[in-house]
């Protein structure tokens, strides 16, 4: 489904990604972790072309993202993305947030879009908040709506960039629950997160990054029970033992 081949990326002189190669199969859930600044967000943004890469090749469902004249808007509309800070449109109600791209990109009619939106809002437990504005909701609620907004585009895969790290501790669970459900329904997912409980529970593979490179890329249980690299061991000891 997603294949990443030897990509490298620079911000002017600074190399953020170094020769990364991996792939995500249909229905697979892959967790990406690693220290701050290791390039996790950058990697995931490259997958739907939000950031250009200088070297290497990324394909999604057969279409090359990194091709010179790739139709990125069409491609992006087929991949959902959820951000750390939710990025709901603050000037639109919850419903409008969900309908905008459905109408403007997929060309759905208002009623179709609303129907789809309502269904998804119910699914993330937010059916009662259709008319509210993002600022009237808690972080956990906003993030669930952001997930629904992505799902409304009927994506073939979902990307998550630290979806819970901006949340108060008691709200993390409500968001993770939605994600777990999604994974169990067979959605292809690539998730940057430090929630190791989530990773253990639903991830098929864990990718560990450091300084722009993919250091480990292994099945979940193998990774946790027996990390190979020193860096990964050290990282796990820090985030698991407190």
């Amino acid at each position: 489904m997603i294949s990443i081949e030897n990509i490298s990326k620079w911000y002017s002189d600074f190399r953020v990604l170094t020769d990364c190669t991996t792939s995500v199969k249909k229905g697979e859930v892959v967790v990406v972790c690693g220290p701050s600044g290791s390039g996790k967000s950058t990697l995931i943004k490259c997958v739907n072309g939000l950031e250009p890469v200088q070297e290497g090749r990324i394909t999604v469902d057969g279409d090359e993202v990194t091709a010179k004249h790739a139709n990125l808007t069409a491609l992006r509309s087929r991949i959902g993305m959820v951000f750390q800070h939710f990025e709901l449109y603050p000037h639109m109600s919850v419903l409008e947030n969900l309908c905008l791209a459905q109408e403007k990109v997929l060309g759905r009619s208002r009623s179709e879009a609303v129907a789809r939106a309502e269904k998804l809002l119910a699914r993330v437990g937010m059916a009662d908040h259709v008319k509210k504005y993002p600022s009237q909701l808690s972080g956990g609620q906003q993030q669930r709506i952001a997930i629904a907004r992505s799902l409304a585009m009927d994506p073939i895969a979902m990307l998550f960039d630290e979806p819970t790290s901006a949340l108060d501790p008691e709200m993390i669970k409500e968001v993770l629950d939605v994600m777990v459900e999604l994974a169990q329904e067979g959605m292809t997912m690539m998730v940057v997160t430090h929630e190791m409980g989530f990773a253990r529970k639903v991830a098929d593979r864990v990718i560990f990054m450091d300084e722009g490179a993919i250091i480990e890329d292994r099945p979940t249980t193998e990774f946790f029970d027996n990390p190979v690299s020193e860096r990964a061991k050290d990282f796990l000891s820090k985030i698991l033992n407190h």
């Binding site: 939000l50 990125l72 069409a74 087929r78 990025e87 709901l88 449109y89 403007k104 907004r149």
Partner: protein, 218 residues
């Protein structure tokens, strides 16, 4: 201390009111024109098209380093000469103000557009919206909304600036007050009165800004 005669204000009210109308009208039209032209300049500057953004930047920086009075002189005396036909003193002043204020409004709009977080653009992109849709539905509405208080503040400054048409004798409120002050020899009364009127209008404006700000922050 001289004896004050505040009757002079009362008897010249209709004349002063005419002046105030001109001031307000000039302000209103200049704000509209300034915002429209300013937004275009801001978009040009952020367009990433080098010649376009260079021209816009040069224009904005040039205008912003020259006093308004000098700009008024330019337009009042020289533009009719340059375009070869008179446009009337009100329109000369209006054009001067629009072109002058557009430089300031463009800086405000540029800051407004840049104040919309990159994440919002990414969110739009990742659902497949194209560049113009993102500007139209995501960035500009937020930029305008974020900038409303500053736009209004600039409007107040613009209103104060209109008093400078005094230098070319256009009959705004300031000029009207001056005429009465000088012909009647009632300087203290008239200038204090002018100050009070300007203060009341501008202060109300800044209260509006304050309430807009507090409403926006909740």
């Amino acid at each position: 201390m001289a004896d004050f005669d505040f009757n002079v204000i009362w008897s010249s009210l209709p004349f002063l009111w005419q002046g105030l109308q001109l001031s307000l009208w000039l302000t209103f039209l200049s704000i509209i024109g300034g915002i429209v032209l300013g937004t275009l300049l801001a978009l040009a500057r952020l367009s990433g098209i080098l010649p376009l953004s260079l021209i816009a930047a040069t224009y904005v920086n040039l205008i912003r380093s020259v006093p308004l009075i000098l700009v008024i002189f330019w337009f009042f005396f020289l533009v009719p000469l340059a375009i070869g036909r008179p446009i009337g003193s009100f329109y000369s002043a209006l054009i001067a103000f629009v072109l002058f204020e557009a430089a300031y409004y463009s800086e405000i709009m540029r800051a407004g557009i840049q104040s919309v977080k990159q994440g919002q653009v990414h969110a739009g992109q990742s659902t497949g919206l194209n560049y113009w849709q993102i500007q139209r539905y995501v960035v500009l509405p937020q930029a305008f909304r974020n900038m409303i208080p500053i736009l209004v503040t600039q409007g107040i400054i613009l209103f104060q600036d209109t008093s400078l048409v005094f230098v070319v004798s256009l009959r705004d409120f300031m000029t009207a007050s001056s005429i009465v002050a000088r012909t009647e020899g009632r300087l203290v009364e008239m200038y204090l009165f002018a100050a009070v009127v300007y203060f009341v209008i501008c202060f109300s404006g800044s209260m509006l800004v304050r309430s807009l700000k507090s409403r926006m922050s909740t």
